[in-house]
Amino acid sequence: MNLIDFSGDAFVVSFLLYCASFIMYAIAVMGRRFRKREPEAHLAKWGKIAFVTASIGLIGHLLYFFTRWAGSGHVPVSNMYEFMSFLSMAIMIAFLVLYFIYKKSLLGLFALPLVILIMAYAAVFPQEVQPLIPSLQSYWLGIHVTLAALGDAFFAVGFIAGLMHLLRTVNFTATDKGARREQRWLELCMFAIVVLLGFILSVYSFRTAGYEAVFNQTQIDPKTETSKIVKVEYNMPPIVAPYQSETESMQSFLGMKSPLFEAPSWMHGVNAGRKLNTVIWSLVSGIILYGLLRLFIRRPIAKFIQPALNKLNPDDLDEISYRAIAIGFPVFTLGGLIFAMIWAEIAWGRFWGWDPKEVWALITWLFYSVYLHLRLSRGWQGKYSSWLSVIGFIVVMFTLVGVNLIIAGLHSYAGTD
């Protein structure tokens, strides 16, 4: 068994351990009212078991990382699979750091699902080791990417604590306009998480089923006015076909034998149609999943979760959220901006080139500096600060994923199309 295979196994084992840990956290919180139990003792005991399981999971995750490093000969952060795996590991590390400061193991109730989702998302991308192109052959790859991801991971923990603060404090009994708006936005966050889950589930279902459809897309070069035929492969049933395409082959799905409609003309890029199709599938499966959940729990998800957090002090959550961001901000500045500039200077001869990824790293930094100014100088704490930590995490995820999928540029990873 070679190192790369071992590393892949370690990845799966740590994933399963994280899942087990999440279930134990759920037991810790939900099981407090089990018969004849001391609620406090139950929570403490299962919280501890869950935390230990998650820590063992992290050891597996670290094993994955270092064996893959040894096996491939370069720091495994060079494609989307490796990067997302690393990001989830970094979030675990950030969670651990905050745990050692505040000893709130219940943070794991939300940190673990986020880690699990990101790991599952990582595994959507091709997992093979890819050789490095010349511009990536530098030790700065390891330094810049890992440190930037670690900074982002602290922002993620800030988001988790901020979201928990909101879930803990939003008043679900009030019916005034402000409270209603807050309830709706919070539920929208929950819905967004369910859609991400829907995306992952639909990718894996169709992958397991071995679904495939192939299209021939006609692409026109506006300058030369010549056209060429490009083959586009779908791994999900085509609700949307690529713009100006013909079906070469398509497995029927639930009686659907041809695409329902074609992508609009402005989505004429090679993979735009497929990406749109994936988005639609994620939304569809997310809505179904959300509907089922609502049927089952008979109330908004946020309202369902709220009682689980009633033992937590909102001020503590607020401080953990702020502290995570305060720890992450210098790390991100160093890894995501300064080291990035040093590497850019060495590799490309300019420390800053307004590449979309660079710009979005700057936007992330500007956003969190606004957060810090509002909090420290204008006294935005609690609710407002928590909402900002949620928005901040959306900015972070857009920088890490959205830019690659939608804008690309110099930082495009292999396998993101």
């Binding site: 400061i101 505040y102 091709p126 093979e128 080791v129 890819q130 050789p131 192109i133 010349p134 511009s135 052959q137 700065w140 404090t169 506006p222 402005w266 002090n313 909102p314 001020d315 503590d316 401080e319 702020y322 502290r323 305060a326 720890i327 901000f329 210098p330 500045t333 160093l334 300064i338 500039m341 040093i342 200077e345 060495i346 590799a347 490309w348 001869g349 300019r350 420390f351 800053w352 080139g353 307004w354 710009v359 979005w360 700057l362 936007i363 500007l366 956003f367 500096s369 606004v370 100014h373 509002l374 420290l376 100088s377 204008r378 006294g379 609690g382 830019v403 804008i407 540029g409 396998g415």
Partner: protein
């Protein structure tokens, strides 16, 4: 909240007798809340310790107004937000600077349609060099300077002149508060607790029954150090564009000949370029068999020369001295005294460098002699045996104009051609005109022999021809390097480094203060930090427990102000 709101009548003398400057929120001496807003607070707002900022002057003049505008954190936040939104707009479509040769007025329309054209018309295709973006950066710079100065000086004064006894209403409205009874006399109790607090790393000062303990005050200067770093960084970024500080050229270096680097005394020679690709077995399965190529390495063996004499004298060979050699790879640029050369691109098409054709008598085939003709730097006169060849015209990219006359199409050596005036035995006294095309393909394309026959009056008397491949010299490849000089870089790094120190100071250290006073057997303790209240409560609880006062960490929290 309290910012900007000033009472009409400024009675700024505190009951403790201290005269405070207008705009003071908490008395500089005893900490008593002075404004209505502060008095109404359950928990005091401790920003900048409640001192008056410079901008809170009574009668602002014009300069004061400008100062006041930039001194507002609110304005700073708006500026950051505008910069944030502005920069995000610039990522919607690729910027003009990403392309080397385009005409943006047509490119955006062709590539992205009408919306693309609007994007161009709005100036968003060069967002980051537009006047409004640069103005935003300049304003952020101004805000950084003024905001910092406005706060750091009063704060510095306040923190270095702290008085130990504090007003009761100052202590009980801190976020960490303890009140209880102690048996002992105040001063004695304070002396007993002093070493315990010291052990936790605090500097402790006492005054009778009152005490002030403080640690890591330097963390308060973190934000200002960061701002200084950012100012240096911004100045360097803006100053880079001054003439002479910055050079950015993309140059071609055909193998084997030194090329002069414009505006410098340096010459750089490409002494060999190689490119390696990953083999099929190195490739991951998803790439295999798809005809994809993945480059592994680009390498230019570069030699850098400095010109010592004859540098700008036409017709004379410059005297070069080697100063350094380096194998330039991506991520491994050449760097010599601030002149940097980066691997940028390459071209493996061979380029003709010199040819040595033989002058031959067309009838007898007699060989008169060879000339060494450099394609790039031909000389005026050549000798071949008894014949002289005078160069009258050179073309790098030969073509025929609409009127049938020879023209030069471009400065690129695509189709070099040379027009000679040949004089010598058996030729007309004033010589004959002769066109020479070094490339075989051009020779046929432009019918060299027919032209020459026509020029000589119907008959080819002599011919220039290459006899063997040894007489042809090619540059195997051309490497494209990005030549850069950026004299502002050290300032950029210094700014970034200082900023980083400020961040570490501000975020990884916490300014903590504990005040306490004992009045007639009642102990009142208040504590403040700028972050990590959790840690502060733990520390205070530990100290009190050591003094045999049983308190729970949580109970120290001043819940009266909790908005949750």
């Amino acid at each position: 909240m309290s910012e900007g709101s000033k009472p009409l009548i400024q009675n700024t003398k505190c009951e403790c007798g201290h005269q405070n400057p207008p705009g003071t929120v908490l008395c500089e001496a005893c900490g008593k809340p002075l404004t209505k807003e502060a008095e109404a607070q359950q928990i005091l707002e401790m920003r900048y310790d409640g001192v008056a900022r410079r901008s809170q002057k009574a009668n602002p003049g014009f300069i004061d107004k400008v100062w006041n505008f930039f001194s507002s954190v609110k304005v700073a936040i708006y500026l950051i937000l505008l910069t944030l939104i502005g920069s995000s707009l610039g990522t919607i479509l690729p910027q003009e600077s990403t392309f080397l040769n385009i005409d943006p007025s047509v490119y955006y329309k062709e590539e992205y349609g009408q919306l693309g054209h609007i994007y161009y018309l709005l100036g968003l295709s060069h967002t980051y060099t537009s006047w409004w973006f640069v103005l935003l950066l300049v304003m952020i710079g101004a805000s950084l300077v003024i905001c910092s100065l406005d706060r750091v000086l009063p704060l510095y004064k306040a923190l270095s002149r702290q008085r130990i006894p504090k007003h009761m209403s100052f202590l009980t409205r801190q976020r960490v508060v303890y009140q209880g009874t102690v048996e002992q006399d105040g001063a004695e109790w304070v002396e007993r607790v002093k070493p315990l607090i010291k052990k936790k790393g605090y500097r402790v000062r006492t005054d009778g029954g009152t005490l002030l303990a403080e640690k890591q005050r330097f963390s308060r200067w973190g934000p200002y150090v960061l701002h200084i770093g950012l100012i240096i960084f911004l100045l360097a970024v803006l100053g880079r564009n001054l003439p002479g500080l910055h050079m950015d050229e993309h140059m071609a270096f055909p193998e084997g000949e030194p090329v002069h680097i414009k505006n410098t005394s340096y010459y750089l020679m490409n002494d060999g370029f190689k490119v390696e690709f990953y083999t099929e077995e190195d490739m991951p399965n998803e790439f295999k068999g798809k005809g994809k190529v993945l480059p592994k390495k680009f390498e230019t063996e570069a030699i850098l020369y400095v010109c010592e004499s004859n540098c700008n004298t036409p017709g004379q060979e410059p005297q070069l001295k080697e100063v350094t050699r380096h194998n330039i790879e991506v991520n491994h640029p050449l760097n010599y005294k601030g002149l940097k050369a980066y691997q940028f691109d390459y071209d493996l098409t061979p380029i003709l460098r010199t040819v040595s054709p033989m002058l031959i008598d067309s009838k007898t085939g007699e060989q008169y002699g060879k000339i060494d003709l450099s394609i790039k730097d031909p000389v005026r006169e050549y000798k071949a045996g008894d014949y002289t060849l005078t160069l009258t015209q050179t073309f790098t990219d030969f073509g025929l104009g609409d009127d049938g006359k020879p023209v030069n199409l471009s400065p690129n050596p695509n189709a070099p051609a040379f027009l000679f005036l040949i004089k010598g035995p058996n030729l007309p006294a004033d010589g004959i005109q002769y066109f020479y095309f070094p490339k075989q393909v051009d020779k046929e394309r432009f019918q060299q022999d027919a032209i020459n026959a026509q020029l000589a009056g119907g008959e080819n008397l002599v011919t220039l021809d290459v006899l063997s491949m040894d007489d042809v010299d090619f540059a195997e490849s051309t490497t494209y390097l990005n030549i850069r000089v950026d004299k502002a870089m050290p300032f950029i790094w210094v700014g970034a480094f200082i900023g980083m120190i400020g961040l570490v100071m501000g975020f990884y250290f916490h300014h903590r203060r504990i005040w306490l006073r004992v009045d007639d057997g009642t102990l009142t303790l208040g504590a403040h930090t700028n972050k990590n209240w959790f840690g502060l409560r733990r520390e205070v609880a530990a100290i009190l427990n050591q003094m045999n006062i049983e308190v729970d960490e949580k109970s120290l929290e001043n819940n009266r102000g909790s908005q949750a």
